[in-house]
Symmetry: none
Subunit: 240 residues, 2 copies
């Protein structure tokens, strides 16, 4: 996995200084792709000043309206979150996260997603993520600055990458499924489960969340998604 295949996604950031500090932190660790989701502040002089010369990261940033658009081309989406959630996500330590990312092949694209300064990520946004990375912190003062969190995770990736040059050739026959392909599968699955009466469309409850978690943690491939969707289509035809 090359560092070019990693993107840092900042969701709903409110302080331009944090965007600039993030750009500097990223470029310090050779990671240059920054995507802003619905930023709540301008990216102007304050951001450029805090970037301290990491202008290319800011100049080349992408800006999109929502998280699905930011991660559509990614086969692995990793959230950072301090909030405890009722339905626990598969958790990684920063070192595990870096190891996992660096073992992926060069065709994969990975997003590291950082939530709003005050409210983090919504549950709907979490639903798009394969993993949650938890940075160990003081339990009594746990909230990291968002640029500091970006600094720590980029450092772990850069550090591990610089001590293990492993280049895995992409498997041309079976690429990792992208987030958009997974979402297509989940919609198809939900439709079939509603048609069969297994899911009440008014009250899908936790079932779809549990199924998402089950499949998202599994790093599905494109062929596997095709098989699963083939099964769903066969079940739908049988019904007609």
């Amino acid at each position: 996995m090359k560092l070019e295949n990693i993107k840092i996604v900042m969701v709903g950031t409110t302080h331009p200084g944090n965007i600039g500090a993030a750009a500097r932190a990223m470029l310090n660790m050779c990671i240059a792709n920054l995507t802003l989701v619905d930023p709540q502040c301008p990216v102007g002089q304050v951001a450029y000043s805090r970037a301290s010369g990491a202008n290319l990261v800011l100049d080349q940033r992408e800006t999109v309206a929502d998280l699905p658009a930011a991660v559509a081309d990614c086969s692995c989406v990793i959230a950072t979150s301090a909030r405890r959630r009722s339905l626990a996500w598969p958790e990684l330590e920063p070192q595990e996260m870096a190891g996992k990312i660096l073992q992926m092949d060069d065709a994969s694209r990975v997003a590291l997603v950082f939530g709003r300064e005050h409210s983090g990520l919504t549950n709907d946004e979490m639903q798009l993520c394969n993993y949650m990375v938890c940075i160990p912190t003081n339990p009594e003062f746990s909230s990291l600055n968002v640029a500091s969190a970006i600094q720590l995770l980029c450092y772990e990736i850069y550090r591990q990458q610089s001590i293990m040059p492993v280049a895995r050739a992409p498997d041309l026959d079976d690429q990792p499924a992208t987030s958009a392909e997974l979402e297509g599968y989940f919609e198809h699955l939900q439709r079939v489960l509603e048609q069969s009466g297994f899911l009440d469309p008014q009250q899908p409850g936790l079932i779809m969340q549990r199924l998402r978690r089950l499949y998202l943690r599994n790093e599905m491939t494109r062929n596997e998604i095709n098989i699963l969707r083939g099964m769903l289509t066969a079940v739908q035809k049988q019904r007609d």
Copy 2:
């Protein structure tokens, strides 16, 4: 070595925001002793705002006139520096540094020394240091923000200090599925796929193998198997 025995020493800092950000970064990692050597800015509203609640670190800070005064009580003084020096200092990676500090006994006191934003430490100041720690960075954009450097080193110390095999408590509500439960699921799945015409019972081919691989690598839980079998039963009923 207890974390209370570590002090962070910032020399000649010019931006109050960096002092505040350092205080937050430190307290996030349970390190609370901050010493300012000849600070070039006031520690006021800007610093407290960036500290985001780590007020106790700022309130309890020491301020001294020069580095010898700051490190007088320390048995180990570690500098951070990006500048290449003619006389190379014994260098440590951040991980080595953390290991070395944590092995010291509880009577030792350690200073981590961070230089001026623009000019680092003088050679005279370096002479007071036992080691130099080098954070791996992009050789073409190597200058870390001082608070980011503090964040990274405090993180390494805290992380290594807190490593106790993450004995995730067993989840009594959701145990790992047994092999027998998984086999029950695979049989059920194959039956439904044959009934729907998706699988030819004479030639199941590679499909079942691929599905097994997909689910087996996923460390399924008992609740998840129950959901998946519930789905299959719903699909079968719909057919009847």
